[in-house]
Symmetry: C2
Subunit: 114 residues, 2 copies
DNA sequence: TGAGCATATGAGCACACGTTCAGATGTATC
DNA sequence: GATACATCTGAACGTGTGCTCATATGCTCA
């Protein structure tokens, strides 16, 4: 146990002062959490190339359209995707380029560690 | 139910062909998953500014050093942090600039959505 | 309006995750 | 070697997550 022990008190104080707020940390964690599921990643990768409806996303990802719909809700709530009704269908697209950028960077980082 | 229904067969075929491999998707998901926990984020944010030992990281993040150690293992396994022994202590640092870059981009994205 | 398809939602289950607690390993100092 | 401190590890517990199944809502066309 060393809960009370601090080696570099100054550094700790600096870090505590510089740490982002609880709320901001949670907000960042939420975004990364949304990107941390294989099914959601496949959805986003597909949408980064072409707008697609729920049915087609189900075909691309290989899971049920119900499961896709559940995941799209998560992505919608996080503002990572947006959608437009087209008759019976709902056509989804990436919310903005930040999302594609995050995807690209994650992919790049994953690629480097063979 | 519309499991078998496909609206835009060509687009689906294109996406299926362009989708990254199962393995690569998992690898990307793993990295984002590592970034999706508030405690781990706080650890990484602190390390992006200064190298710190486990005890001081515990003080900065506000959790037990045991919990920090568990999370550091996750980050080590993902190659997001590296460490060097300094006597009794283990001093951790970010593995590379990619990590800081991902952090910055996630933070930026989180900041925009008030 | 009523049938049929696309999408959304709620409950439930299996599994994964983060923490705590207790104890093991490792390193320096005496 | 023995003690003290820092870190690591394994088990266990509560909680969250992603899927399936059943059902509800929305939209179109006859």
């Amino acid at each position: 146990m060393c809960e009370a022990t601090i080696v570099d008190a100054e550094a700790v104080a600096r870090m505590l002062a510089a740490q982002p707020s609880e709320e901001h940390v949670r907000s960042i964690a939420d975004i990364f959490a949304a990107l941390s599921d294989p099914t959601r990643l496949r959805i986003l990768v597909a949408l980064s190339r072409e707008d697609l409806c729920v049915c087609d996303l189900a075909a691309v990802t290989g899971v049920s359209s119900s499961a896709v719909s559940h995941q799209l809700r998560v992505l919608r709530d996080r503002r990572l995707v947006s959608f437009a009704r087209d008759g019976k269908r709902a056509v989804y697209s990436l919310a903005d380029e930040h999302v594609a950028s995050l995807l690209a960077q994650g992919s790049e980082h994953a690629g480097e560690r063979a």
